[in-house]
Structure formats: structure tokens, C-alpha cells
Amino acid sequence: MSMLEVKDIEVYYGDFQAINKVSINVDKGDVVSLIGANGAGKSTLINAICGINKTRAGSVTFLGKDITKEKTSHIVSLGLTSAPEGSHCFEKMTIQDNLLMGAYLCKSSAERKQRLEEIYELFPMLREKAKQLATFLSGGQRQMLSIGRALMTQPKLLICDEISLGLAPVVIKEIYSQIEKITQKGVTLLIIDQDVSRSLFHSKYAYVMLEGKIVMEGKSSDMNIDEVNDAYFGINFSKKE
């Protein structure tokens, strides 16, 4: 069953077209990855889906509802959110407050506490630093906090933006191992990563973006890494070698 359906959307910054007729589809329970180089338009696409960037054409449907023109806060309440890259933590708030913000829409304080416990179990490091300000976290810890905060909204579909951005390989491995646990809880995932082979390995379906367009898509297991490389960089450079 299709959970998120993006159809032919176009996004402009002024006169500059950042996203050109992009369509993607995410099925319930899947892990889908979106691959592309810096500047390919991945984050712009995510922000358009979440209602942060305005779309000029096309439609976004989530769980059968048209959310193209909806406010971000409403989209989150429907069960779709994104974990932005780690630099978007609430710097001047404690880790615990950052996480509790994720449960903003939850009115019961008992349930907020329960959700908090779940996140702490997933990322024990966050419990250790619960009373520290987010500004003192390292890059990998920020990434975990961002994902944890997004999970606090209890999303049906979670988008993880730039999940390995600037992180050391060990940390990336740790984050991906948590990602698996998250999917086991029944959360559908759309993962953005520059790390091609890793995202292919962890996902069921993949899209490759280049210069605002989807240039390649398919089942991750069927994808040939060299072909992805070519699509990723927009050249035939594997053949050149």
C-alpha cells in the first residue's frame, strides 16, 4: 500500500528551478533511500514534502490525503515528519527538552514520559546527557538526538535527512543499527544519504537524484553500484577508468 505519493512536484527558489517534476513513492513498512550528491536537491525535496518549501506544481499525498498545501505542523500531526540534519537541534535547550519537544502534540504528560523512555532505550547515550545543552553534543550525538526527537512525534513515516553527514564511519554504523530497530517498530522510513552502498544495503527501494531530477530508481538489491555511481555524478566515469 502506498503511504506517501509524490507526483510531478516542482520547487523554485526565485527563478531557479530546484526540483523538476519529481515523483517518488513510499510503501508502508518499507525503507526507501534517496541518494544524490551535494546540491542534487534532496533536502529541497524533503522540505517540500514536509510543507517547509512551497511547491509550484504537482501533488503530495500522504495516507490518501492531499497534503500539498498543508502547514508543516498539520503534516506532523498526520504522522509524517523529518529528522533534519543534526545542526537543527534546539541548541539552547537540554537534550531532554529537545526530545520532549518532539512530543509537543501529545497532551498527556504520562505518555510523553513513556515515549521519552522508549527513546532513551534506543539511544542510551541521550539518557546520560539528558540535562546537558544540545550545543555541547558532537555531530553523531546530534544526529541521534534529531532522529530521537522526530521519533517522539510517533511518526508513521519518518524522513531522515543527511543521516551520515560529516560523521565518522563507526558512528554511521551505530546509527544504522538503530535504524533497523526503528523499522522493527513499524515505522516507514525514507532515508537520505550520500553514502551510496550503505543506503542501498539498508533499503528496499532506492531513488537517485541529480540536478533536481530523479535519474534512476529501482529495487536496491537489483542496483549495480557502478551504475549508481554514474547516475550519482552524472557521467560515465566508471567506464572512463
Binding site: S82, E91, D97, L100, Y104, A150
Partner: protein, 287 residues
């Protein structure tokens, strides 16, 4: 000397309340509300009007004033500022300047230039009356209200869902919206909160001093001074800022005469502005 010092500290409490409203708005939307002083005087006049209508029931009048100002805050943010904040900080700043001119002159037209005051029993009562120190109950009351307000707001900001959403929005509006916060609405709530506090400061000022339509701008400078000295957006800092200004003003009055007391306060403010533009207590500001 001791008299001036104590009175300065207590006056600082009153100044802190004036500053809180401005600090809230600045903290969350990085906007300096140039109409802040006039909005405060608007609440003084509102309280005066309610008081006259209710036959002198100041407490009820104060409550009605707070409600009125909260509604005013809703309109100012919802209909004016929310529509202009996207266009950059300068247009929004100038809108508040326009509102300031509009309000000051509207009040002048309605209430004339005569100085008015809110009659109350506290301002004539002395809590301490010794040869060295004599303290008016009104000053002490204002100071206690300031402490109560600051503590209350601090608790709300730190420990409630609502307070967290305000802090989160001021920290990173985009990330806040991704947790389900409607940022435009949060701005409205913040302005309503700010106006509620401003109403309190307006009533207290009306009880402590006489006022007319043109004094709003000097209270704006005080509010700004309090916020700058205490550090923009910091609640506890506001109290310190208020006390620094209050003491500077009254010691100025002690040493140089009451005519130049504000001059001393302004000079202190200028020194802080030039040397520690992020406030005395700003932890190494980012960026």
C-alpha cells in the same frame, strides 16, 4: 545614600517587569518592539478608564486591563506583524515604530496632555519609616510582583509544553515546525503573553508615577536598557538589568540632583551597549 540604594533596587523590580515583555518578543522573533512603551502607557490608561467605570475598584480594573491587552497583543501579532516578519527584520521594526507614533498620539488626543495617576492606598503607605530609610509600600509591592512574575514565567518556560514550544521556536523555527509547532501561532501566543505582562507593568507604573501619552518613549528606552543589560531573551537577566538601571538612576539623583538622574542611567546603558552589546551576562554568543 542607603535610601537611594534601596529604592533603586526596588525600582529595578518595576523596570524588570517593563523589560520582560520586550525581552519575550525579542527572544522569540528577534524583533524589537518600538511600540512597547506606548503599549504600556495604553494599559495605564485602560486601567484608569476601567477604574473610573468601576468606581475605583483597582484590582478588577487591573484584571480587565490584562485581558484587554492580551487581546490587543493578538491583533497586533495576528494582523500586523505576522504578515511582515517574512519580509525581513527592518520592515517589522518600522511597523512597530509606526504603531508607536499612532498610539502615542491617539492617547494624547483622547486623554489630553494632562498627567494622570492611578489612585491607590499602597503608594501613600510606608512599610519602613526610619530616619535613614523610608520605603513606600508600592515600590516593595512592585518588586515582589516582579519576582513573582519572573519566577512564574521561568517555571512556565522551563517545565511546560507551551514554554518549551516558545523556546524551541526561538531557537530554530524550522525544526520546531517539524515537531508539530505552528510557529505563526506561537508568535501570537508570545505576543499575547508579552502584552499581558506589559499590562501589569502599565498598572504598576500608573500606581507609582503619574503618566501622560508622551512618556511612553522614555519607558521604551528603559525597557530596552533592561533587556540589553540583562541580555536579550534572558528572564533572570531582566531583573539584574532592571536593578542596574534603577540603582544607576537613583544614585545619579543622589550625586548630581534629580534633574539629571536619567542622564546617568542612559550613560550606564550606553557604556553597556558599547562594551557588552550582548548583555552583561551573555554566554559567548554563537555566530
Amino acid at each position: 545614600m542607603l535610601q537611594y540604594l534601596v529604592q533603586g533596587i526596588l525600582l529595578g523590580g518595576l523596570y524588570a517587569i517593563i523589560g520582560i515583555g520586550m525581552s519575550l518578543v525579542f527572544g522569540i522573533m528577534r524583533l524589537t518592539n518600538l511600540a512597547h512603551g506606548d503599549l504600556m502607557i495604553l494599559s495605564s490608561y485602560t486601567a484608569l478608564t476601567f477604574c473610573e467605570l468601576l468606581g475605583g475598584n483597582l484590582i478588577l480594573a487591573a484584571i480587565l486591563t490584562i485581558i484587554t491587552m492580551i487581546i490587543v497583543g493578538f491583533f497586533i501579532q495576528g494582523f500586523l506583524l505576522n504578515n511582515i516578519l517574512d519580509k525581513g527584520s527592518e520592515p517589522a521594526l518600522l511597523v512597530t515604530f509606526g504603531v508607536s507614533v499612532f498610539l502615542a498620539n491617539l492617547l494624547h488626543k483622547i486623554f489630553s496632555a494632562d498627567y494622570r495617576g492611578l489612585a491607590n492606598s499602597l503608594s501613600n503607605t510606608k512599610v519602613i519609616s526610619t530616619p535613614a530609610v523610608s520605603i513606600s509600600a508600592m515600590y516593595l509591592f512592585s518588586f515582589l510582583v516582579a519576582i513573582l512574575l519572573i519566577t512564574g514565567l521561568h517555571l512556565v518556560m522551563q517545565y511546560t509544553n507551551f514554554g518549551r514550544s516558545i523556546r524551541a521556536t526561538s531557537d530554530n523555527a524550522m525544526a520546531a515546525s517539524l515537531t508539530g509547532v505552528n510557529t505563526k501561532k506561537t508568535y501570537i501566543y508570545a505576543m499575547m503573553l508579552s502584552m499581558g505582562v506589559t499590562a501589569v507593568s502599565g498598572v504598576l507604573i500608573g500606581c507609582t508615577y503619574t503618566f501622560n501619552a508622551s512618556v511612553g518613549s522614555s519607558y521604551l528606552i528603559i525597557a530596552f536598557g533592561v533587556v540589553v543589560i540583562g541580555g536579550m531573551g534572558s528572564l533572570v537577566g531582566t531583573l539584574v538589568g532592571g536593578i542596574v538601571l534603577g540603582v544607576a538612576q537613583l544614585l545619579g539623583s543622589y550625586f548630581f540632583g534629580s534633574g539629571v538622574q536619567m542622564l546617568v542611567a542612559y550613560v550606564v546603558l550606553l557604556i553597556v551597549l558599547a562594551t557588552r552589546p550582548n548583555g552583561l551576562f551573555a554566554r559567548g554568543a554563537r555566530k
